[in-house]
Every structure is written in structure tokens, then in C-alpha cells.
Subunit: 138 residues, 4 copies
């Protein structure tokens, strides 16, 4: 049983993280230690070269990992990223960006996860993220 639904999570997001609202990011699925998010394409995402800019992908990655963490530990909104490392693999097409997060450790103090990112409808991974969230003491 997950401790938060995508709907509950999107409400937190829209209320409390305006940047996520500006980018239109939504969480589509939260499962056991996993979550999927989407940044629906808009022209504001572009950077020189006609590809989606890196910060859009970093924002989506951070956010979908946050969803996976809260799915596991509940509404501990003060959980914060301590480290995020991203490898950009291919120039992303001007399309929706899809991100799949998967936690590889959920400890008492730290949760660690990975995010695989794709352009909608394409097969090759466009970016890969490893990240750590710090879980505050109860």
C-alpha cells in the first residue's frame, strides 16, 4: 500500500512548488518504491538546438524521485534532496519527457534512487539520474 496517491501528490506540488506548476509536470503513477512523471511538451522547454533544456529534465527527475520517496514514507514533506547527479545521454526531441524513478535504498536517514528518462514514443534513454534524499528524524 503506497502512502500517497498521485492525486494527493499533485495537490502538494501545485500548492507548494510553483516551478512544478509552471512546467506542468504531473505524476502519473506511484507504486512500491517507484513513480512515473511527465513533463508535457511546451515551447518554453527549449534551449538552443531545439532540444528540451537540461533544467526541465533535472526538475522532473527531482520531482518524480520525491514522489517515489513520499510514496514509501508518507507525507514527510521536509524530505530534501542532498545529492543529484545526472548524465545527459542524447539530445531530447521536442516532445513530452517521461521519467521513471525507482528507489534502490530506503534507510532511516537516506533514500537513494535512480531515474530513467525518455522522450515520449522513443526508445533510447535521454538522461539518467542518481539521487539521494535525506529523511528528517521523526
Amino acid at each position: 500500500m503506497n502512502k500517497i496517491t498521485p492525486q494527493e501528490f499533485d495537490i502538494i506540488a501545485r500548492d507548494q512548488v510553483p516551478l512544478v506548476g509552471y512546467l506542468g509536470i504531473t505524476i502519473e503513477h506511484i507504486g512500491d518504491g517507484v513513480a512515473t512523471g511527465r513533463a508535457p511538451y511546451r515551447d518554453e522547454f527549449l534551449r538552443p538546438g531545439g532540444t528540451v533544456s537540461g533544467p526541465v529534465m533535472m526538475t522532473l527527475a527531482d520531482f518524480v524521485m520525491y514522489a517515489a520517496v513520499l510514496g514509501k514514507i508518507g507525507r514527510v514533506e521536509l524530505a530534501v534532496t542532498t545529492n543529484l547527479s545526472i548524465n545527459f545521454l542524447r539530445r531530447p526531441s521536442p516532445r513530452d519527457v517521461i521519467a521513471h524513478a525507482r528507489l534502490i535504498k530506503v534507510g532511516k536517514r537516506l533514500a537513494v534512487g535512480e531515474v530513467d528518462m525518455f522522450s515520449e514514443g522513443e526508445e533510447d534513454m535521454i538522461a539518467h539520474v542518481a539521487g539521494t534524499y535525506s529523511i528528517p528524524p521523526l
Copy 2:
């Protein structure tokens, strides 16, 4: 002699990277392998806990490193980030975020740099970034 000025750089940014415009990020200085940028505080930056959200800092870091790279190699706008790794050190106050980038390698194919980030008027570093830019063949 730097190959681009902060003014020229901000024009590229505003024209071509809408997210940077939305966040109001500006480049204040470009020197020899260094650059300084600022994200002037606005309430849209916040996340739960009343601190500046991580993606705002990642966007600023990526952008100021891009300014340092273009200052060194000229208007090679297709230079792209290949790796960015950020450590969040302290909860940033609801204030302007200042970022100082410094390149530690500028090769033919890759440029590598660091970014130290601070809340305006405070002494302790709030985040540290290491990043790599890929420089396209001429």
C-alpha cells in the same frame, strides 16, 4: 579577453531559454574561465519548508556554468551539459541565490567546472556543483 559579455549572454538566454527568463536569472559577471549569476528571490522559488527549491538552484548552476564556458570558447551555443552533480548543503534562505562558476578544465571536447552557491548576504555555501559540458566539433 572574454569571448562573450554578460549582456550578450543574457540576450541569448532570454531569447532562447524561456525557463531562465521565467526564473529571472541574470549573469552579472563573466571573467577568464569564471562567471557569476543570480536568481533574484521570488515566492515562486519556494518548496515545502519555506526554502528555495532544488531545481531553481540546479537551473542557475547549469546556466552560470554555460556562461563561463561560452566566455571561454565564444558563442558555441550547441555546447551542452553532459553531467551535472549537485550536493545540497544547507536549506537556503528565502533570498536571492548567487552562483560562482569556475572552470577547472577546458579541453577540445569537454569543459569541466565547479559552482559554489550562496544565499545573498550569508557566508555558508548552500550548494556545490560539479559539471561537464561537451563542446561540439567545429
Copy 3:
């Protein structure tokens, strides 16, 4: 068809990378963009707390990724790591360490991969690595 076998690779290793010989690391499998390596347990691996030390795991990870890269591009021995980022997830038992590398991008200039690491006979990942290799021009 892979461009190098584990046997050929181990000979390169033993001849040319003495540290790998000292640690007794071997490559057990090289497939299409993947490789598996092992560091057979010895007491020299330990660190305070009776667990396997981080550098042993980093050495194994770097090496198994190198095997995956050479399996893909052939005996380009001057391929070098440009970035390696490791998350240590759990204290590894005093046992063999097993590492599975998987390339997520093989471009003309850069190859990027991940490594999942386990203690022999245990299920939980003990460390996760993302790394980038630079491929020299032909």
C-alpha cells in the same frame, strides 16, 4: 559478437593494471554492452567496521565498466574514465563482491554506463555507480 572476451580482457588487466591483479579482480562475462566482474573476498579488503572498503568497490566498478566498453568498441585500451559517481547503499558483508555493468549510451566520443554491485549470495544492492568513458578519436 563482442569485440573482446573475458579471457583476453583479464590478460590485458593482469599485464597492464597491477592494482587489479593485487585485488584479484576477474571478469566473468562480457555480453552486448554488459559485463560482470568479481572481487573474490580477501581480508585485505576490509576497513574499520569489518566491511569491504569503498576503494575496492570503486576499483571493481571502474574495471567492469571498462570491460563492457571494450566489449563494445574493441581493444581501444586508451579509453579512459572521465567521470565516476558512486552511491554506497549498505555496508557490504565480508564476501565476494559482484558487479554488473550495463552501458546506457555508446556514442562516438563518450560511453555511459551503470554498475549494480552486490555481496555474493545477498539480494540487496550494496552500491550503485554511474560512469562515463571517453573514447579516443581513431
Copy 4:
């Protein structure tokens, strides 16, 4: 006043971390949140291309950061690395490797630092590391 001297630290190292003894790594200085270490050159360090292998540098970096952390918090030997990210900048000459660590955060649960690495007698940085140590509860 530092909580451990280089001499005390080297004794811990030699007694408890055999790999460090094999590589001949020594700590030359521990100051307030900083430490300097050296890997005296030996032929065993080499990799194809005649340069010092990455794992030697990663081992030195991890170890000098450990020295800086213990200099700050005392003999808390169970402090462990949770994340280490290294950028290799230049092919290191077959010479001693020198590493300067500097902590940028020492919290209750995590310490974060950077390491700048050089070949003896040369000016350009050969590698840069960012790392995080987890400090066990008292």
C-alpha cells in the same frame, strides 16, 4: 585543535585498511576541515597509456577526505562514504599524486567535502572529487 594527527591517522590506516598500506598512501597534514595526502609513485599505479590509474586516485581521494572528517569529528572510525563523484581532468604523469581535501559542510549526520588532485610538481588539476560521509549517531 584537530581531533586527530596525521601520525595517529596513518596508524589507523595501516592497521585497518590494508589497501591503503599496499598503495603506500600517507597523510601529510590535517588542519581545520582540511587534509593533504600523497600516493608516492610506484610502477604498480600504472594503466594502459603509462598514466596513473583511476582507482589509485579514487582511493587516495576517499582516504584524504576520511582524514579531514576524522580531523573534525575525532576517531569516529565508522564514518563511511555515502557518495563519491570524481571528474578525471587530465592524464596524470607517472609521479606522486597529491590530494588536498576541504570540507564544505560538517553537519550532525553528513559531512561533504571536495578534493583537488595534482601530479607532484605540476600545476594543472588532474582530478576533482566531491564526496559525502555519513556520521553515525553517537
